[in-house]
């Protein structure tokens, strides 16, 4: 499970996304949406409602991202 991210450049980002779910498994859809922001560390669907026949998901997450410069303590 070791990852190639540079620990010195790592930072955490909190996210709250809205996602329109399509038919089929939800996990790949959520992971795909989160991947645009960083590497998912922890996430959950925290709300789900239907609007006009579509299923809208609220997802809260923490993702890992690398800064362009090393983070100095």
């Amino acid at each position: 499970m070791a990852v190639a991210m540079d620990a010195n450049r790592l930072h955490l980002k909190g996210l709250e996304l809205q996602l329109t779910a399509t038919a089929g498994a939800l996990s790949p859809q959520v992971l795909g949406a989160l991947a645009r922001h960083g590497t998912p560390l922890r996430w959950a669907i925290t709300a789900c409602c239907r609007q006009g026949g579509q299923r809208l998901l609220s997802v809260e997450a923490v993702v890992l991202a690398e800064s362009s410069q090393a983070m100095q303590p």
């Binding site: 070791a2 955490l12 709250e16 939800l26 996990s27 922890r42 925290t46 409602c49 609220s58 983070m71």
Partner: protein, 346 residues
Amino acid sequence: MSAAPLPTLLVVPSGIGCERGGYAGDALPLARLLAGASGCLVTHPNVMNAASLYWSDQRIHYVEGYALDRFCAAELALRPRRGRRVGVLLDAGIEAQLQWRHRQVADAARASLGLEVGPVVTTDVPLGVSLRLGESGISWGGLEQPGTLLRAGESLVQAGAEAIAVVTRFPDDPDSASLAAYRAGGGVDALAGAEAVISHLLVRRLGIPCAHSPALAPLPLREDLDPRAAAEELGFTFLSCVLVGLSRAPDLIPAAEARATDLHPDALGAVVSVADALGGAGVLACAERGLPVIALRNPCALQVNAAALDLEVMPADSALEAAGLVTALREGLSPSALRHPSRRLG
């Protein structure tokens, strides 16, 4: 002669205000019950950790949340261990006297429980834990120095640690309304989200069992303390349960490298989780793999239920009903045969 064990997963998400399991190890009785029903339970530290209190059961596998999600996604298998060396990682932001209290817990675990604990390392700089609530009202959190945390973890592994108990200084806010609500048996555990992020970071990087214990100043006595929160106000630290849990946590093995004696994710036979919180990574992964999901009524801050997610589940109104369903599955009994009236086939 009883049926072979039915490996069962129990997930009670932390930081979402569960009526049972949202406090200080108050889902432990549920875990003990399901361990008896299934013969083999896989669950996470939030369920098993009761600060100064703990329960060691060889039928219960203590698996941190990030690793649990990977197990549910069939990426990891679990290799049981009789014991392992637990290193302790202390946040430099913990004041000296409180650091000593934690070191003494480590000593007590060695002297009185015979656990292998050590070494103890302190981070270069304070880790800077922050707390926040999401839009939904559930607990999240952050860390100013993730690189510092990971470097300290790596140094522990190089020094021989096979698991890491990480202790970070959390902000004290003894007069906050949320803490008062928590101690009275309401609201959300505000620490849980940050705790999960910290342990997830370490497990993801190091591939070994990790669990978190917050370092906080002791609270003044409250006579009307809710019993579910009481375990966290018995001592100076929350570390004892973490050391016990990690001491027998299973190895995390890539599923493709699993041996016959490992617990492979394909062997999972049932999942028990919170009926209104089915949208977490692990439970969703299990549901999407076609595993039976027992949705246990356990009011919380969320309303993400089976109907909302288009999932088929077996509802359970109580822990006892959930245990009955696990027993039925273990014995190969159709739960519908135990409900009245029975429907005709033709």
